[in-house]
Structure formats: structure tokens, C-alpha cells
């Protein structure tokens, strides 16, 4: 376009609009839209998203379609396999497994997402402060992070549950207390990788020229972070977040399996597995369905994380 006379001031300017507009009419593509376009091409991730969507809408809307009480005891029909009356069979008290699966799924998924949010919030806060404040504050925060990473998770969890379960129960009720406690504990033990990641992103981004340009224009530290650094650091954080959801669901299952999660009469996918383990040889379906649900959810979320990672990575051609 500039050709042999590259001197004119406006030589490339008037030519460019036509060049830019020709391939796609008028509309500007934002980075978010571009990420979505790339995500859509990732078959596994899209499959994962659809599976997760089905699972989530299943546990949310399912009880309206299948309005069976979760504690409807019927000893005449105990430990039955799948049938028309009980599509997923029954447990040792003759309670309907489909209803319990849907109820338990709500809890498991809610714990997963809430714990992820806690981990991300704490991690992003600690990481951004450490990344912006070099010097002693950065060092102190990273020591704290290392300290938390060095804590043995499971024993600590058991200790916290024993110590605080009763007092939380008094304040927030049986289920609410357990929920808050589990979410806080899981989130409180999973923010460290996020903090490290965010700090590393900040260290690299704050030296970038567009941040330097903002500094040269007199942008405050808060403005530099909110406008320029954080939005560019969030891609990998979202990816870690999806994986954290999966990890939190498994964690809650572990806790329930050990009898430290929700009260024993509240079904979650993990506690159903625990109850089913004694009947594996005569009622395998009882363990199979919650186990399969956990497996499917975690796998789907991990694939979504995979797809997001690739979609956020501009070096990858999709």
C-alpha cells in the first residue's frame, strides 16, 4: 500500500480501513469474543461444557420433574437395581437414589464452585498485593504462601472440622454450618497456587510497555492494576479456577467419605459413595451412580479448563 513512495503521511491510513473491513463486515472483535471463537473449536472442551450443563441443569431442575422425597423410607424396596419406579435403584433403606443424587449433586456442585470462588478471591488478592509491592511485603506474603503449601491438608482439615463444627452448627444450622466450614476450609487450602500464579503474572506484566505508558501518564497504582495488569493476568487464573472446582468436588467427597462433611442423613455424592461401599457386591449401582457423576463432572470441568487454556494462549493456532 505504501509502495514506492513511502513518504506521505497518510499513505497507510486511508488504505487501511478497506483492508481491515473487507474480511469481516464492520464489527470489531473483542478479545473475549475471540477467546469464545477459539474455545468453540476445541471439541473436547465443548463436549465437557455440554456435559456439565446437562449435569447442572439436571440437579437444579430434576427435582421438579422427579418430585420424590429423599428420605422416603421403603424397606420393601431396599437395595433394588434400576427400575421404572426407581430409575437409579434404591439404597439400604429403600430411599430413591435418583432423588438423592439430584439433591446431593446440588451440594457437591455448590461446594465446588463456592470453594473455587474463595480460593480465587484469596489467591488473586494475595498474589496482586505481593506482585505490586516488591520488597518485604512481597517476601512476607510469599512465605505465608509457602507455609500454607507445606501444611498437610487432610490432618489439618480433620482438626478444623472437629474444632469448629459444633460452633458453626449453632450459628448457621446443621447444613449451612457444614457448607460454610467446608467451603472455607477447601478454599483456604487451595488459594496458594493461584496466588503464586497471579504474582508471577504481575511481575511480568508490570514491566510491560503498556503499563509503563500508563505510569508515564500518571496512572495510580490502583488504576494500573485494575485497568491494565489484572485483565491481562486473568486468563490463566480462570483456567486454574476450573481445575479448582473439580478438585473441590473431590475434596468434599473425601471429607464426606470420612464422615467429616455434611451430617450423615444429608446426601452428597461423596457420602453416598461412603454408604454404598459396604454393599458393593450386592448393590453395585448404589456406588456406581454417584461415583460416575463425580467422574463425569470432574472430567468435564478439566476439559473445559483445557479448552480455556488453549483459547487464552495466542501462540496456539486453533
Amino acid at each position: 500500500m505504501a509502495g514506492s513512495t513511502p513518504v506521505s503521511l497518510s499513505a497507510d491510513a486511508p488504505a487501511s480501513p478497506q483492508l481491515a473491513v473487507q474480511p469481516r463486515k464492520a464489527r470489531s472483535i473483542s478479545p473475549a469474543l475471540e477467546t469464545w471463537r477459539r474455545f468453540r473449536r476445541h471439541t473436547l472442551a465443548v463436549t465437557g461444557a455440554i456435559v456439565l450443563l446437562i449435569l447442572v441443569s439436571g440437579v437444579l431442575l430434576g427435582p421438579y420433574v422427579w418430585p420424590v422425597a429423599i428420605n422416603d423410607i421403603d424397606f420393601a424396596a431396599k437395595l433394588q437395581g434400576p427400575s421404572l419406579a426407581h430409575p437409579l435403584g434404591t439404597d439400604d433403606l429403600g430411599q430413591d437414589l435418583l432423588a438423592r443424587m439430584m439433591y446431593g449433586g446440588r451440594i457437591s456442585l455448590a461446594v465446588g464452585f463456592a470453594a473455587m470462588l474463595v480460593a480465587l478471591t484469596v489467591g488473586v488478592l494475595v498474589g496482586s498485593v505481593a506482585g505490586m509491592a516488591s520488597g518485604w511485603l512481597d517476601a512476607a506474603l510469599m512465605w505465608l504462601t509457602d507455609l500454607f503449601l507445606a501444611l498437610p491438608t487432610l490432618p489439618l482439615l480433620l482438626l478444623v472440622m472437629y474444632l469448629f463444627r459444633d460452633s458453626m452448627k449453632k450459628v448457621l444450622g446443621v447444613e449451612g454450618g457444614a457448607f460454610v466450614l467446608i467451603v472455607v476450609v477447601i478454599g483456604g487450602l487451595r488459594w496458594m497456587p493461584v496466588a503464586r500464579l497471579v504474582r508471577a503474572q504481575f511481575l511480568s506484566l508490570r514491566e510491560k510497555e503498556f503499563v509503563e505508558a500508563a505510569r508515564a501518564l500518571g496512572a495510580s497504582k490502583v488504576r494500573q492494576v485494575v485497568q491494565h495488569i489484572l485483565p491481562n493476568a486473568l486468563g490463566p487464573v480462570i483456567v486454574v479456577g476450573t481445575i479448582d472446582v473439580a478438585a473441590a468436588i473431590i475434596f468434599e467427597s473425601t471429607l464426606s467419605f470420612l464422615g467429616l462433611g455434611f451430617p450423615s442423613d444429608v446426601p452428597t455424592w461423596g457420602s453416598m459413595l461412603r454408604d454404598a461401599k459396604d454393599y458393593l457386591d450386592i448393590a453395585a449401582h448404589w456406588a456406581l451412580f454417584p461415583g460416575g457423576a463425580i467422574f463425569l463432572t470432574v472430567l468435564a470441568i478439566n476439559f473445559i479448563g483445557d479448552g480455556l487454556r488453549d483459547a487464552f494462549d495466542p501462540r496456539r493456532v486453533l
Partner: protein, 329 residues
């Protein structure tokens, strides 16, 4: 330290500017060494002038530019802008200074936030300094700035990745112009561009200088680019200025052996012209332990034994032509 006289009115005065970067290592990140990035630089820039600052990679050109803007805190030395000591400024004063001094970057791909639209990138300066009372005023000003740098008004709704390198550099220039600065530090603004686009951007910078009475500190490693745009040129070697002279004078009549060697490497677009090519021996020494005396003595073709002991001062060899060499000029 005495320093070169500048024409008429000095907008910017730099006095014995130094910047050392700590090299940390060992346990508890002790400072084990120091990189002498800028090692006593002094110069002036007159109002409306363009001072070219040339030198090899790593000689401290960019660090000098950033120290002047206080994007990097200088270790010692002074920077005076319109009679005010920039190095002592804090808070509000510094914030006001940000309106007077701006910077254009080398890499047009790294210098624009990929998540903001062009309108927001240029408009940010107006928001920070409260230069646009209403949304309408802001948009009008952004459109005006885009047109000033040769872009279309509707470009403000696009994202940086939708532009070419040359267009992105124009956006960077528009951002710098938004606060109506007096001095712009151009940090290798065309080094990352195609040659044809380089000429356009240089011409744009010259037009803007004329239109707004801008003063440039033009950092580059390409001597032919600098020759075209600069009123005067300063040559840097290992953190020190070795020669300052009016552009024409420096190119016709270089005094410092380093300048001579640099100029002999500039290609002449005429195959019949034969020129003596001065090949420098060895590499640029490590700025952690720069050579004693004259930094250049390890590679200098005319060095004598005492060059390793005595540090040469910048002295005025001819009116307006300053050189820091014991034996040349």
C-alpha cells in the same frame, strides 16, 4: 562538570545522571554487583529541538530516557525541566510533570493494552488528568487526536490487534499527544517497523513537532534515521556520552574514534563510493566492570597507555562540538 552549550533556551537539562542496577545473588539476595547502566550523562535540549541519542544496545540510552521521565529512579544526578528539578519532585508536582513529558515506545505490539479499545487507550490520559469534562468532550478529543496522527475516527472502537505495526505506533503517538506534552522521549520509535513505514512515522513526528512546537529526545541505534530528524546528536558508549555535536557537523566531521567507527558502518547507497571501514576489535565490555579511565580504551584504535588511567571530560573542541577524548579533536 562543564557541559555543552545548547542553543537559546534549554527545556531540559541533564546533569551527571547516573543509574546503577543491583545484581542480586547468593542467600538473602545480597547485592553482589552493580551494572553501571548510565554513568554520568550530561546534556541539554533546547526548546523545539530534537536531540538524537545513539549508541549500541545496552549502552544506557533507554535507561537515560526513562530516568528523565522518572519511570526509573536515577541513582544520582539531576534532571531540570523548565527550571524545576525533576529528580526532587514528588506527588502532585510529579503528576503535573506527567502532562509535560511523554514517551513513545519501541515495540508497538507491547505498548498498547490488548484488552482495551483504542478510544479507551487514548482517552485514559484525558481521564487521569481530568482533561475531558464530559463523555462527549472525551470522544471529540480522541477523534481529533486520531485524525492528527493520520487515523480514522471510527478506529477508536477497535482493538489494538486489528491494526498494523505502523498504525499501532500512530496510536501510541496519539496517546502521548493527548496530554499536550512539551517534551517527548522517543525510545527507538521506528526500530520495530518496516523501512517504508519508518519513513511515514518519522515524517509524522516531524510534522507534529512543527505543529505543536514539540521537543524530542530521539533514541535510536540507527544513525541514518537519527541524522534525518535530529538537530543535534549525542553518541553514547557504555553509559557515557562520548560526543555531542550538531547533526551535520557530527556526520561530516566526527571527532571521537567511536563515532568514526559507527559512521563508517552506515551503508552508502552508491556502490562506486569506497570508504575505509573501521572495524572495532572485540565486544562491548561488561557494564558490571567497565574499563578504567576512558571506557573506550580497550577497543580504541588511537588509545595510548594513559587512556586507561585518566577519565576524559567532555570538552568543547569546536563551537558546539563536544567530545570526550584525550587525543582526538
Amino acid at each position: 562538570m562543564n557541559a555543552p552549550l545548547a542553543p537559546a533556551e534549554d527545556l531540559l537539562k541533564v546533569r551527571d545522571l547516573r543509574k546503577r542496577f543491583a545484581v542480586r545473588g547468593g542467600i538473602f539476595s545480597r547485592t553482589v554487583d552493580q551494572v553501571h547502566a548510565v554513568d554520568g550523562v550530561s546534556f541539554e535540549i533546547g526548546k523545539g529541538e530534537t536531540l538524537g541519542l545513539v549508541g549500541e544496545s545496552g549502552c544506557g540510552k533507554s535507561t537515560t530516557g526513562r530516568c528523565i521521565l522518572r519511570l526509573i529512579e536515577p541513582s544520582s544526578g539531576e534532571v531540570w525541566f523548565q527550571g524545576n528539578n525533576v529528580t526532587r519532585m514528588g506527588g502532585d508536582e510529579l503528576q503535573k510533570l506527567r502532562r509535560d513529558m511523554q514517551i513513545i515506545f519501541q515495540d508497538p505490539y507491547a505498548s498498547l493494552n490488548p484488552r482495551l479499545k483504542v478510544g479507551a487507550i487514548i482517552g485514559e490520559a484525558l481521564t487521569i488528568h481530568k482533561l475531558a469534562p464530559t463523555q462527549k468532550a472525551m470522544e471529540d478529543r480522541v477523534v481529533q487526536l486520531l485524525e492528527t496522527v493520520g487515523l480514522q475516527p471510527d478506529h477508536m472502537h477497535r482493538f489494538p490487534h486489528e491494526f498494523s505495526g505502523g498504525q499501532r505506533q500512530r496510536i501510541g503517538i496519539a496517546r502521548a499527544l493527548a496530554v499536550e506534552p512539551k517534551l517527548i522521549v522517543c525510545d527507538e520509535p521506528v526500530s520495530a517497523l518496516d523501512v517504508s513505514i519508518q519513513a511515514q512515522v518519522i515524517n509524522l513526528l516531524e510534522d507534529l513537532q512543527e505543529e505543536f512546537g514539540l521537543t524530542y529526545l530521539f533514541i535510536a541505534h540507527d544513525l541514518s534515521v537519527v541524522e534525518h530528524i535530529s538537530t543535534r546528536v549525542a553518541v553514547m558508549y557504555l553509559g557515557r556520552v562520548v560526543e555531542i555535536a550538531p547533526s551535520r557537523e557530527l556526520y561530516d566531521n566526527p571527532l571521537h574514534p567511536y563515532t568514526e567507527a559507527l559512521l563508517s558502518a552506515v551503508p552508502i547507497p552508491d556502490p562506486t563510493v569506497k570508504r575505509k571501514r573501521i572495524m572495532l576489535q572485540g565486544d562491548v565490555p561488561n557494564p558490571i566492570r567497565p574499563p578504567s579511565g576512558c571506557h573506550f580504551h580497550t577497543r580504541c584504535p588511537i588509545a595510548r597507555p594513559d587512556c586507561a588511567q585518566r577519565v576524559p571530560e567532555l570538552r568543547e573542541s569546536k563551537p558546539g562540538h563536544w567530545v570526550s577524548c584525550h587525543y582526538s579533536g
